[in-house]
């Protein structure tokens, strides 16, 4: 059995209502292997962002558990880095200080000054912003700000990178650049990543595995393994077939009537693009 970095079991999310509880997401499972990139794909309102916050230890789930390297996750962990939808840069710090932010916090592993320096330099270089290190967030473009946020994650050398639609606010071209950059960085550092998105193409281009969430309350409608090598832009046919498959699954789920009290007996949908994709077995 392969090693599991991050594991989620039976995660349920919801919010309190006047009478009882409104369930948003039910019974979500995830097992992230080292170096793997998983995309959690789903329409708005299925609790994707909340789910990521649970995986990051920033929020309690209504039910279920998360463990990192076999240990239950109690809260934010130094081995986990989160990139939010918004770059969340601190406007009073220069780009460089933003990248360094948090490295010297008491609960982070202690770094020698030289190591710290090297990590910051390396992270800024990795996202190609050496020329702007003295600039302040107000002077950065959206793409540059998002790169800075990514560099801040990299400087911590996390084992797991959690990304919540980090490119959602970027224009098409910048977005494609950022996706490529992310792939390079993940490959170079052998980081595992969980990416939240509502963009099917982003999921298809970036991930080793796609988990599709949908329905009300949401659950995992299916998962697909993608074995295509990078870069994938040229693999339009294979990806196209998969795209249709995912959309079909989503549509089929939305046509099913409101779920009754019993759980849906639908088995996990599996990919069937011959030769390239194989069904997932866990």
């Amino acid at each position: 059995m392969t090693e599991v970095l991050l594991e989620a079991r039976g995660i349920s999310l919801g919010y309190p209502r006047e009478q009882g509880w409104q369930s948003v997401l039910e019974n979500f499972d995830l097992q992230l292997a080292p170096g793997e990139v998983i995309t959690i794909l789903g329409p708005s309102g299925v609790g994707k962002s909340s789910l990521l916050r649970v995986l990051a230890g920033l929020q309690q789930a209504r039910a279920g558990s998360v463990s990192l390297l076999g240990e239950p996750l109690q809260g934010p962990h130094p081995r986990l880095a989160v990139a939010f939808q918004d770059p969340s840069l601190l406007p009073w710090l220069s780009l460089e200080s933003n990248v360094a932010f948090g490295l010297d916090f008491a609960r982070q592993p202690t770094l020698a000054a030289s190591e710290r320096r090297a990590r910051i330099d390396h992270a800024i270089e990795a996202v190609g912003l050496q020329h702007a290190r003295e600039q302040y967030p107000a002077q950065l473009s959206g793409g540059m700000a998002q790169r800075t946020a990514l560099a801040r994650c990299l400087a911590r050398q996390p084992q797991v990178l959690l990304l919540d639609e980090p490119f959602g606010a970027l224009d098409e071209v910048t977005r494609a650049d950022m996706q490529q950059l992310l792939l390079q960085l993940i490959a170079r550092h052998n980081t595992a990543a969980v990416l939240i998105t509502h963009d099917i193409d982003e999921a298809l281009l970036l991930s080793d595995r796609v988990l599709l969430l949908g329905n009300h309350p949401a659950r995992t409608l299916g998962q697909w393994h993608i074995d295509l090598p990078q870069p994938r832009e040229q693999r339009v046919e294979e990806l196209g077939a998969l795209r249709i498959d995912i959309l079909k699954t989503l549509r089929r789920a939305s046509r099913t009537p409101e779920p009754s009290s019993e759980p849906m007996p639908l088995p996990s949908e599996t990919a069937h693009v011959p030769g390239r994709l194989h069904p997932h077995s866990s």
């Binding site: 130094p78 939010f84 601190l90 009073w92 948090g102 916090f105």
Partner: protein, 251 residues
């Protein structure tokens, strides 16, 4: 930048326009060679140059600036921690807001007789009145700053496992500082206005004192020179406060 240059030039032109109006006012409405001639720009500038050549005026300026600084520091020492508290707790805010708004709207100068009775004449009542005047903008702006802290910054610091102390020092205080500096700028404006009448209270140095002194000596061109000087110094203080704010906010 071209735009900046144009704005700068327009500003300078406006100042010259002001001097022209001043000159016109004295010229048209006053009798030639009468009392009013002593208020004219020419006489004032002459006196100002003469005053600036003497050591005395610098002493008065220094005393006044020192009072401003002490008043401001006192107001910051009280206003910032109080503002952080009030901004952090909704109930405390609800409990204190009407009282603060009430106190804020009482002209600090109206406390003058009470303060002099309690503290006697001298620097102490001036420090008290100045601190009291400067407290409100600092307190209220700090509290507003806490309320407007970006929740994403707090989420970030949490995701980096920051301790409470780290969050306070690295996120909350720097995040509020821009608002505190806005408060400081407003406070300096108020301080400068309140200072001059405060210094007319039985002290023997300072710009306010010097105004009364010139009046008593019937040195009207010197009086106008002091008015001009107060304006120039206030303008510079405000520019400094603005510069500080800009430096911090990087906007």
């Amino acid at each position: 930048m071209g735009k900046h240059a144009i704005h700068g030039a327009l500003g300078v032109a406006g100042l010259f326009g002001l001097i022209l109006l001043w000159w016109l006012g004295v010229h048209l409405f006053g009798e030639a060679d009468g009392l009013s001639a002593r208020f004219s720009p020419q006489a004032t500038l002459g006196s100002l140059i003469e005053l600036l050549g003497q050591a005395e005026v610098y002493e008065h300026i220094w005393v006044s600036l020192k009072r401003i600084l002490i008043g401001l520091v006192l107001a910051l020492l009280i206003g910032v921690p109080l503002g952080l508290l009030v901004g952090s707790y909704r109930h405390l805010e609800a409990a204190t807001t009407p009282a603060f708004q009430f106190l804020r709207m009482i002209s600090p100068l109206s406390w003058m007789p009470v303060v002099v009775m309690l503290m006697g004449v001298g620097d102490q009542p001036i420090y008290f009145l100045l601190a009291f005047a400067a407290l409100w903008p600092i307190l209220l702006n700090t509290a507003a700053g806490v309320r407007q802290l970006d929740p994403r910054w707090l989420q970030l610091s949490r995701s980096l496992s920051a301790t409470r102390w780290e969050t306070l020092c690295k996120v909350i205080i720097p995040g509020v500082l821009g608002h505190v500096l806005t408060g400081v700028r407003l406070a300096i404006g108020i301080l400068w206005i309140v200072l001059v009448p405060c210094e007319m209270l039985g002290v023997s140095a300072g710009l306010g004192y010097f105004i009364l002194d010139t009046r008593d000596r019937l040195a009207y061109s010197e009086l106008m020179a002091m008015v001009l000087l107060i304006g120039v110094l206030g303008f510079m203080l405000d520019a400094m406060a603005r510069g500080l704010h800009r430096r911090w906010v990087h906007a």
